[in-house]
């Protein structure tokens, strides 16, 4: 599998970083996962993965922290509120945002070499 950094992902997909900046070049996500159902994510996503969802609800941070995900890409311009962003910073979770739909983002990540298994 192609190794890519979170920095490459952010730049090539034009994502907006909502949480504190980090050394994104040192982070290399190993999996991709798409779902809007928290129960599916809990059972299906693996650690150090990138989770694509249109959910901006504050529960996503808890799930991401529990699964030790590298980043959450929130699609379709959905905006988490301030407390959600603060909670993400506290837990060291990177929240990214895009106007594009989940289908497009997952399609592009797959094209870049990311897989979900």
């Amino acid at each position: 599998m192609t190794i890519m950094t979170l920095d490459q992902i952010i730049n090539s997909l034009g994502l907006t970083v909502l949480t504190d900046l980090k050394d994104f070049k040192s982070l290399t996500p190993s999996y991709g996962y798409t779902s809007d159902l928290l129960s599916c994510v809990m059972s299906g996503a693996k650690n150090q993965g990138v989770w694509v969802t249109l959910q901006a609800h504050n529960n996503i941070v808890a799930v991401a922290a529990l699964l030790e995900l590298a980043a959450v890409i929130i699609t379709e311009g959905a905006m988490p509120d301030e407390t959600t962003v603060a909670k993400a910073n506290e837990q060291g979770i990177t929240l990214l945002s895009t106007e594009k739909a989940s289908f497009y983002i997952a399609g592009k990540l797959w094209e870049m070499g990311l897989r979900d298994v």
């Binding site: 159902l37 928290l38 129960s39 959910q55 901006a56 529960n59 959905a78 905006m79």
Partner: protein, 332 residues
Amino acid sequence: MSSEESRKNILVDDSVAENITRVEELAYELKIREVMERNVRTLDSELKMQSAADLFRQQRISGAPVTKNGELIGILSIEDVIRCLVANDMDAPVTRYMTSKVRTIMATDPVVEALKFFVNTGVGRLPVLDEKGNMEGIITKGDLTSGLLFALQRSIQEEELKTYRASHLFEDITSNRTSLILRYVIQPRDFTHGGTASSNIKRALLRMGASPQIARRCGIAAYEAEMNLIIHTTNGGNMRVEIEPHKIALDVFDYGPGIPDIESAMKPGYSTATDSIRELGFGAGMGLVNIARCVDSMKLESVVGKGTRLKMTILLESETVGEGYAGKKEVS
């Protein structure tokens, strides 16, 4: 529409594939009794092969059941006649050349049973028995084909007629203001049947000649409102759709619990739904936003402890329903 035109339609229409599926359905729905030949020419067991051959030629038939005292004992086909001719044995009784192990089919069986039999065996005809085991008719491949085609034609015409009637509903009615009102009662927490009312509303509009875009907008608005009643209300609620030639008005109301903060409720992403509702795929806080996108105007009123009323209007500026617009559009 003349029969010539309607036949042309069936051949070239986009719905050809749909029709093929319909034929499959019909093969299960139609019973043998509905397509079989009742007027069966039977051969008496005493009859000579020569007479049978003459009968086949005169009547232009390629086979017939053989009976003895009214009871089916065999079947004679044109192939049997040829065998007999070759053997130069035309004075023999038909019983000598007939097939005596006769496969039969019940009049109450679906047409597909006969189709399977013909395909698997290559046999061309099947005597049809009634519930008591008496021969009631005979069925051939030709009967199947013409029976299915006739039934298909009939079912297409029925749907066309229904759509035609619905799309011209208002045309011949004179009043100061004509409208059609559909009413639905929605039960709380009924996730299994949720959306049935909206589905029926969408279908009715399409039948009445609304464009797919209008039916879609109205369907989505109604569906979101219906799901709101299912998710949020104490005792469910009511939906009332008033269809006029140039306007559709949806009125959705309930008797509690009411929305404390309407301004927040209208914001994208705002939701009071529980996590379990979210896991069902709802409660994303997009419902009212969605409705606002689909309708031309809306009015949301709510009193906590009393209930909520959402009124929506969709205008049909350049088109109408129920006044034959769809029909006219198809012709032009």
